[in-house]
């Protein structure tokens, strides 16, 4: 990001962008909100995907990106952006509200050496959870101490699981159609998956490392054989892993109708805040256009493993031969784009979502610890999450 800002400032002399770091995603959103309340909001605020509903509801605090672009007369073609990426940040009328910035999607990372050591063919098919289960059995039998771990459990094993199997995570099109939404994460597909994961946890085949990406260090250090994590884990794994690794599509349950659909994104988008001059908005528009340009996006995609936000950037990356040199790096892109997103797989737009994720984390921990069965935990997550959704509905 700092590099992009520098390139932008150097590329023209009309405007100067100043980037400020305010901490992690939750902290940044807080700082932005506090700044707005104090009347000192920045022009652009980077907000993680979970904060999307909060930002959307804040009419009067934000200026939609399509409006910024139109007012400043900048070239803007929202069709240039990849559907599955921009869909998350687009209103139901198809208007882009914030500019997708860093987007990633979950994939399966494989330690090929660990598989070989356990006598498993490192090229075995891991596209379904059934097959993954069989490999986990073999790894366990061979005495492997951490066959599978995960990062971001709610995002990967519930939110993406639901989209990938084309089942709803919440009513009202996952919250896209209104704030009177209720969680539906306790359906049969989700319960079956969490139940299986709980069983694996009990047998020592799935090892829980923490709510965020704590498991990443275990995978990069070679302790864990399989790892479900964002495609953006690429840069870290590539620089640290002392073993042969492989990236595979996120597994799905064979036999579930409609699977595999498409996975959804995580990451952040750039929101433009209200209360600035036209001249400043012109600068904002120029900067956002610069960020969306194919060259900048292609470099960003190749350096970090985040998804390109425009089709042009993906094409440019292919032309540059990056995918041929780094096999597997296009898996995330394919996984997101092979199917046209459905109402269940466009994304999620839920109020208080950061807190709801916290609740889901707690309930899943109860399953991994063997305190609750999957059905009871997910029922409880729904019930507790719905309370927060009702409060969000009341506040907006």
């Amino acid at each position: 990001m700092a590099e992009q800002v520098e390139t932008f400032n150097a590329s023209q002399s009309d405007y100067k962008v100043v980037a400020t770091h305010k901490g992690n995603y939750s902290e940044t959103l807080n700082a932005g909100i506090a700044a707005f309340r104090a009347g000192e909001q920045p022009e652009i605020l980077m907000v993680f995907e979970v904060g999307t509903a909060t930002m959307m509801a804040a009419k009067g605090a934000i200026k939609p990106v399509y409006e910024v672009m139109a007012d400043s007369g900048a070239d803007f073609d929202s069709d240039a952006y990849i559907g599955a990426v921009k869909g998350y940040y687009t209103s139901t009328d198809g208007e882009m509200l914030s500019l997708p910035f860093n987007s990633s999607t979950p994939v399966l990372w494989v330690n090929r050496d660990a598989l070989k050591d356990a006598g498993v063919d490192p090229d075995s098919d891991l596209s379904t959870w059934q097959n993954v289960g069989a490999v986990l059995d073999q790894l366990k039998e061979a005495g492997h101490e951490c066959p599978l771990t995960t990062a971001w459990q709610s995002w990967i094993h519930l939110e993406n699981l639901s989209a990938y199997h084309n089942v709803p995570f919440a009513s009202q099109e996952n919250g896209f159609a209104g704030v009177d939404t209720e969680l539906q994460l306790n359906g049969p597909v989700q319960v079956k998956h969490i139940d299986q994961m709980g069983q694996w946890a009990k047998d020592g085949k799935f090892v829980y490392k923490g709510r965020r990406n704590e498991g990443g260090a275990d995978f990069r250090g070679g302790t864990c054989a399989l790892f479900t994590e964002s495609s953006a884990g690429y840069a870290g794994i590539k620089s640290e892993a002392q073993f042969e690794f492989d990236v595979r599509p996120l597994p799905y349950w064979e036999g579930v109708e409609g699977a595999p659909q498409n996975t959804i994104i995580g990451g952040a988008s750039l929101w433009v805040m209200e209360g600035h001059t036209d001249e400043e908005y012109k600068a904002v528009a120029a900067f956002l256009n610069f960020l969306s340009s194919a060259e900048i996006q292609a470099k960003w995609h190749q350096d970090t493993g985040y998804l390109p936000i425009t089709s042009a950037a993906g094409d440019l990356t292919r032309e540059q031969g990056f995918y041929d040199e780094n096999p597997g790096t296009d898996i995330a892109v394919k996984q997101m784009t092979t199917n046209e997103p459905t109402a269940n797989s466009k994304g999620l737009r839920l109020g208080s979502f950061d807190q709801i994720r916290g609740i889901i984390d707690e309930e899943l921990e109860a399953v991994w610890a063997g305190d609750k069965d999957a059905q009871a935990a997910l029922d409880s997550a729904k019930q507790r999450g719905d309370q927060l959704l009702r409060r969000f509905e009341a506040a907006n």
Partner: protein
């Protein structure tokens, strides 16, 4: 007869009191008033609109079993932190008090941890017990104990208690040591001549004479455990696993600054204010009676 010293006029006393009054007003009464006001609304995060709900926020909180459970967690946590930090400090102070050689060095070393901020202490302990790279958890593993505070509620609670109590031991140690040294040697020597052993002397003379210090520390430590342990919890467990280490003040933060639910957060602050006020009153009413000054 009681002797009273009175000053003429009221301007000077008022002037002398003013700084404290202003500080209390700005940093306590104003924010507390704001919290009470905000607890009656459900506002949107950006402050664009507010919906009056009366006592709705309180109703919502008190009907939430997880919020009620948080009271129990807070009680368990505070009692453990207070007992552990005061117990260890008293033990060390008694030992240091009896030292003849090198007492200065020991004292300095014991006071050292107080200089470490709670959040930093939290990070230190987190690294020692980290399930992957932690030194302590690695040794525990060698002994055949599988340490995992990420999933085990008891271990998580134990870890945050020890991490919170650790820095506090120094503070308590200072006060206990000063208290011990203020006890007249002659009284203890007289008891020793009468044939009282160390333990008897401690139980019947030292501990009662130490009671003002103990009482002061009790109040201060409970307030510490309620409010200032936030950094430790945030860095080590973030309130988990499940909600095993979500104490009241952590929930205020989580709901307000993670969930952006400012109404509920304000209501929780008000409840917390009442709880601590009540606790302090109880302490002064009932425990202080047993203190010998």
């Amino acid at each position: 007869m009681e002797k009273r010293v009175t000053f003429k006029g009221w301007l000077l006393p008022l002037l002398l009191l003013l700084p404290q009054v202003i500080i209390t007003a700005v940093f306590f009464f104003y924010p507390a008033g704001q919290a009470i006001y905000q607890s009656l609304f459900i506002p949107d995060p950006f402050g664009l609109s507010m919906r009056f709900v009366g006592l709705g926020n309180f109703e919502f909180l008190l009907s939430d079993p997880y919020y009620r459970a948080s009271f129990v967690t807070t009680a368990v946590f505070s009692i453990l932190v207070t007992v552990v930090s005061m117990g260890a400090a008293l033990y060390l102070a008694v030992l240091a008090d009896r030292l003849i050689k090198g007492s200065g060095t020991y004292r300095t070393l014991l006071i050292w941890p107080y200089a470490v901020a709670p959040a930093v202490a939290g990070v230190l302990w987190m690294f020692m017990f980290n399930t992957r790279v932690g030194v302590v958890s690695w040794y525990l593993g060698l002994l055949g104990y599988d340490w995992n505070h990420v999933l085990n509620e008891g271990e998580a609670m134990g870890l945050v208690v020890v991490a919170s109590a650790w820095g506090r031991v120094s503070y308590n140690f200072l006060f206990f040591l000063a208290g011990l040294q203020a006890i007249p040697r002659s009284v203890i020597e007289a008891a020793a001549i009468d044939g009282a052993h160390f333990w008897t002397r401690f139980r019947t003379i030292v501990f009662p004479l130490l009671s003002p210090t103990t009482f002061f520390l009790l109040v201060v430590n409970i307030v510490y455990a309620f409010f200032e342990t936030f950094g430790v919890i945030h860095t080590i467990t973030a309130g988990g696993p499940q909600q095993a280490t979500t104490i009241l003040v952590y929930k205020v933060y989580a709901d307000g600054f993670v969930g952006q639910d400012l109404g509920s957060s304000a209501a929780q602050s008000v409840i917390l204010l009442l709880v601590v006020g009540l606790l302090t009153i109880i302490q002064f009413k009932f425990i202080e009676r047993r203190v010998h000054y």
